[in-house]
Symmetry: C2
Subunit: 385 residues, 2 copies
Amino acid sequence: MRKYEKVPKGFKFYGTHVGIKKKRKDFGLIVADDICHAAAVFTKNTFCGECIPIGRAHVENAELQAVVVTSGIANVATGKIGRENEYKILECLSNKLTIEEENILPSSTGVIGPQLPIDSIKGFLETESIILKEDYQDFAHAILTTDKRIKVRSLKIGEATILGIVKGSGMIEPNMATMLAYILTDAKIEKDQIYSALKTAVDQSFNTISIDTDTSTSDTVALLASGYYDVEPSALQVGLSQICKELALDVVKDAEGATKTMFVTVKNAASQEQAKNAGKSIINSPLVKTALFGNDPNWGRIAMALGKTEGLLFDLNKVEIYYGTFPIFSNSNEEKQNLKQIADYIEQNEDIYLTVDLHQGSESFEVIGCDLSYEYVKINSDYST
Amino acid sequence: MRKYEKVPKGFKFYGTHVGIKKKRKDFGLIVADDICHAAAVFTKNTFCGECIPIGRAHVENAELQAVVVTSGIANVATGKIGRENEYKILECLSNKLTIEEENILPSSTGVIGPQLPIDSIKGFLETESIILKEDYQDFAHAILTTDKRIKVRSLKIGEATILGIVKGSGMIEPNMATMLAYILTDAKIEKDQIYSALKTAVDQSFNTISIDTDTSTSDTVALLASGYYDVEPSALQVGLSQICKELALDVVKDAEGATKTMFVTVKNAASQEQAKNAGKSIINSPLVKTALFGNDPNWGRIAMALGKTEGLLFDLNKVEIYYGTFPIFSNSNEEKQNLKQIADYIEQNEDIYLTVDLHQGSESFEVIGCDLSYEYVKINSDYST
């Protein structure tokens, strides 16, 4: 991450304190000069936040002009009042910014259960003036809960720019539960292509990471395109996927209590889906994760996690397991001679690459996870609601 | 557990040290006077131990006369040599005990990867005499890996007795990975009914518990019936289910690093399967487990885990969540007035009862789990292969 990332043409930002958190910024806006082509993907959690169904409806026509984020309270499990509060915020903003309510995407992240302090928020919006800036920093700070840092990435494709801003680090603070990512570009993307462009990028990035298997109630990734520059679609897709991968990795690197990042590639599977499921089974195994934390080249646990993958059948005599470039299991046997080198490899590196070769097809998939440490237990237990 | 559990008629036991572990008992036998009607269920892990396919074949005709267990090495991922070693043990035992090889069920538990010290085992079996005892204690000790205690239960149904012996406490020691349970009875059970009787009991017991989501490579539950006494089938089923429930609870109570046991009942679901899946999603969530460890009445995480249950749809306005008898969430709102009582309830009890009422059907299911503590991370990371 550079000190200042590039900002695409046509977008401005805002971030301030409205009284949800005690002191820190808790209210953020992204506002486009005009209506953008847009797409968004949302959490699959049934117990989802009040913003999710509203956002889904607003982006259905592939148009958005603004994003509003409240942080500190997730507005989840708040019933009818929670939904009404969200509409009150949208109404105030619509009047203030002269933007149609249906062109605003709302997000909220923080504690599950409490209602938003709607009187404070309305009071602020009705009396204070909103000065939008070219700089994204106030916004990037305003959406954080207990992330250790803001996470922003940009890149150029020809004349166009893609900017991505994400928050999330697992379910960071107890009760906090959201990953929010906003991707902005001044490239032109057709309405009928923008969703699939986003979905492709998300499947290759955010959907390949897991910190603790727990699916947040408010996860949202939104893409807004202001349409100033023509870009070759395949180059744009590469750029979008790249930004999403960088942001996803930023989230894993900021994971609760994590000391190591594990990249697991399952090779030569019958299908990409099977390769992904097997990889997820490995990075999500508490026993694999604690072994990684302990610098233990415990390939038996990798084998166990591979074997328990739902719906995956394979010939265990063909399986090969590598740490880095060193085989630890092949030809149905432990490669004892490599144990010392592998132990050194795990101890000396923060990024650990694990490869499982199934030798049953030609599809591969990489997933990214992290270790399970004392600190994770501390962060998530040493707390009282 | 009583000091001495009752032993059904027709079974004898043996346990000794043959040289797999350093000092402790590592070789156990259950031998019946005659061929028993028998059934067994095995791990679904594809990367399973060499004993699993052999055991599956041997019990296929619903007959067994003996069980042999080696502990300290799991004989998993050991290839052709591993399989041959298992057959060598069976051959020795068959000669020694004059029991057909096909009537012996082999099990092995311990480290994944290494080969069994087959020369020591064969040497022992060819030279030492085996003196079978009425007492199960040597056997119960011989099958342990790092369990903190032996786990044995018995009950009477009319004249008949059911005895159950289990080992396992999660994937206790790093690399150790097995739950083994043996249920013995002198009741008569027909060959064509014994598998379904066992399956019913296992589904209501062992299949409702989870310590860390990781499925062992050698899990086995076997039932042997020596057939001395006639028992009413429904009474026998109740007894079998009862013994399996007690043994399953013993396993959770001996779980790695656990300080609390959590009983989660999902009520009024559309189907038992959905109720079970929702309950498992809750007891397996790292965030729910760490909150329990921290005595935190964090119902937001319960809601999150419920919501992420694959394939479960529900109306979140109808959901009610209870700790013990206290509602914490109902009518779409947090029941704030109960927070203090609930915090006390969690702090003061080792067994925590959680109920989720979906109000969408009439099916219920209870699952049992435990918390995630520093000690779990310690046990599973503070180790080098």
